[in-house]
């Protein structure tokens, strides 16, 4: 029970400080992402899994945006057969991929190479994230800088309440007059 109480206390503390809670969640998600990215796709164990893994990274040349693994086209089926032959012959996946690149060019790769124009999809998310963070920090700093200036005068309620009250009284009086 004590564990549950402690958990609910933590949850209540997070509810009081949503920013800290959100930051903790973001940290958790990012660390999970980092682990997945560092490990990469799980190593294919059986030959069939290896064939599937290689076929998933190759574009079916006679299709629009379908991988060799997903395409029902006869040419894709024959590509899967060639990949299976390569795997059975003990060729490394990179060698098998290079054979298709030699015939079809790099456009046969569904994952862009990390150079030239292919570098853009690799680098752009990190650049956009960094730009967004910088923009967020700048915006936060600007809002913080504004807040003390606004609270320097009398509190908003004190400044407006007198005029508001008079307005309200007048309106209520009019309703009373109009009422039969």
């Amino acid at each position: 029970m004590t564990g549950l109480t402690a958990a609910s206390r933590t949850a209540r503390a997070w509810l009081r400080r949503p920013a800290a809670g959100l930051a903790a969640l973001l940290l958790l998600a990012l660390s999970g992402l980092a682990v997945v990215t560092a490990r990469g796709p799980g190593a294919a164990a059986t030959p069939a899994e290896q064939v599937h893994a290689i076929a998933t990274g190759l574009r079916c040349p006679v299709c629009r945006d379908l991988s060799v693994a997903d395409s029902p086209a006869p040419l894709a089926r024959e590509m899967r057969d060639r990949i299976a032959e390569g795997v059975a012959a003990g060729k490394p996946p990179e060698t098998i991929r290079r054979e298709f690149v030699a015939a079809y060019g790099e456009s046969v790769l569904l994952v862009p190479p990390r150079r030239g124009a292919g570098l853009v999809p690799w680098v752009a998310p990190a650049l956009l994230l960094a730009g967004g963070l910088v923009a967020a920090v700048l915006a936060l700093r600007r809002w913080r800088g504004r807040a003390p200036a606004a609270s320097a005068g009398p509190p908003p309620s004190a400044r407006t309440s007198g005029a508001d009250r008079r307005l309200l009284e007048r309106a209520l009086a009019r309703i009373d007059e109009e009422a039969p």
Partner: protein
């Protein structure tokens, strides 16, 4: 203009520059019109049996001749369109050190044989089990034609139906001395 006002302008300039670079780098191109990475490279070798299975055609045996490798199928409508052009070019160049080889692509052999006998095709046509040769040549869709020079290198590639003029132009360019049997001058242009 203050630094803060310049920021959006700079962002727009960067975005436009990036878009222009991506456009130039070829992301806007039709993926079907990709230049073959095999151009100017040794043509992948093959040893394929003719459709009647009476003899083998080996690319290595054809070294020193101009080889026109035509991927086609009996089910392919555009192959019917280009067949007369291939027939005319074969009639003109068959005794001039030029070999035309048809590669039957993902076809059933009885239909292919019927198609060939219907049209009286004179050049050797081979079967390509498992599309091995088509995959080695990076064939996207048929008809597709490769022009292989006497040095065994791929000089040009045509995706889609080939015309008679194109066949004459590419073949005469590859023949020694750049002149065909009719003395047609060589043209410099090349296909995809």
């Amino acid at each position: 203009m203050s630094g803060r006002a310049l920021l959006p302008v700079a962002a727009v300039v960067v975005a436009v520059a990036l878009a222009a670079w991506l456009g130039l780098a070829g992301l806007g191109r039709d993926p079907g019109a990709i230049r073959s990475p095999l151009l100017d490279r040794p043509a992948p070798d093959f040893a394929l049996r003719t459709l009647g299975a009476d003899r083998m055609v080996r690319l290595a045996d054809l070294r020193g001749q101009v080889v026109v490798l035509n991927f086609w199928a009996s089910w392919c409508a555009e192959c019917r369109v280009e067949h007369p052009a291939l027939d005319a070019a074969w009639g003109r160049f068959r005794d001039a050190g030029v070999v035309l080889v048809g590669v039957d692509f993902q076809d059933d052999h009885p239909s292919a044989l019927a198609y060939l006998s219907e049209r009286g095709t004179g050049w050797p046509v081979v079967a390509d089990p498992g599309s091995r040769t088509a995959l080695a040549y990076g064939v996207y869709g048929i008809p597709e034609t490769f022009f292989i020079g006497p040095d065994g290198r791929i000089a040009a590639r045509q995706v889609g139906p080939v015309t008679y003029d194109q066949l004459v132009r590419e073949i005469t360019r590859l023949l020694p001395g750049g002149r065909g049997p009719a003395g047609a001058p060589a043209a410099g242009s090349r296909s995809a």
